[in-house]
Amino acid sequence: MKRKAMYYRNEEDTTLVCELCPKYCVLTDGALGGCRARKNLGGILMATNYALATGLSLDRIEKKPLYHYYPGSRILSLGPNSCNLQCSFCQNYQISQMHAATQEISPEFLRDVIAQHCAEALQVAFTYTEPLTWYEYILDFARENPEVRIVLVTNGYINPRPLAELLPHVSAMNIDLKAMSESFYASECRGHLEPVLENIRACVAAGVHLELTFLLIPGLNDAPSELMAMRDFIAELNPELPLHVSAYHRIIR
């Protein structure tokens, strides 16, 4: 399936700038974005990962993790073969950072699978890798299926305008807060901290059910001052916001 991407601007000739996330990749004709999900084809940005899923399974919602959202329910889960951050500690880099096998799951087929396997609660999680790099697919699906609860498990790395367009369709989110230092986001993730904090604030303001995940990596993002800064940031938003402190497992690349 082919779908023109949203959120980009044309520069001179056929060069364009992707405006979906704060990376603002500059793409000449034929170039692929840093997320490996969007490609400049003759001056038009295409979502080349549209409807292509790396995995499709039925999970307990606790596994997302979401602990305060329909506890014990089952949720169909799938994700694209792409991500817009490049974390040195990625726990599933085989499907987020490298080419992996995908299967096509059209929005119509996805609707059928959800109806078949989650009949007691129509809900779907876009997860495993980075769903925000599946922007058009998720937005198309959500618009056509307002009765299905949409869950995103995400790094929260997106620009304000596309986030604002997507949020009214989203029921619940788990956003990764990877650290409280800009230097960690810059050196370990090739991104920036502030857009993530800004988007967490926006999700709280929009009233989406939100939980946060912090992957603790000993010696890298667990300095007492950093933990306290994270605690105070969350407490100021809402002291009841659930926080999942997750264990890092060593990876061998």
Partner: protein, 77 residues
């Protein structure tokens, strides 16, 4: 990047810092089932019991504590 794997003790001590101001803090991705239950923020009653394979929900219909009636954060019905 070379970093040692996170031990349960690391998670436990971080959770202690977070709980100074936050109500719902959990440990994840651990071999143990500690740090997984939800307790009432007012009276401490166990509201949701979790293990790696099972969730038991003791909340009243709309998501309030069966003992003191305090509403739990979240969406339950």
């Amino acid at each position: 990047m070379i970093a040692p794997a996170t031990k349960t003790e690391h998670i436990a001590s971080a959770i202690k810092v977070f709980k100074e101001s936050l109500v719902n803090v959990y440990g994840g991705n651990l071999p143990v089932s500690d740090f997984m239950d939800t307790l009432c923020r007012s009276c401490g009653t166990r509201l949701i019991a979790r293990t790696h394979g099972k969730t038991q929900n003791f909340l009243n219909g709309e998501g309030s504590c069966p003992q003191c009636g305090t509403k739990a954060y979240g969406v339950y019905a």
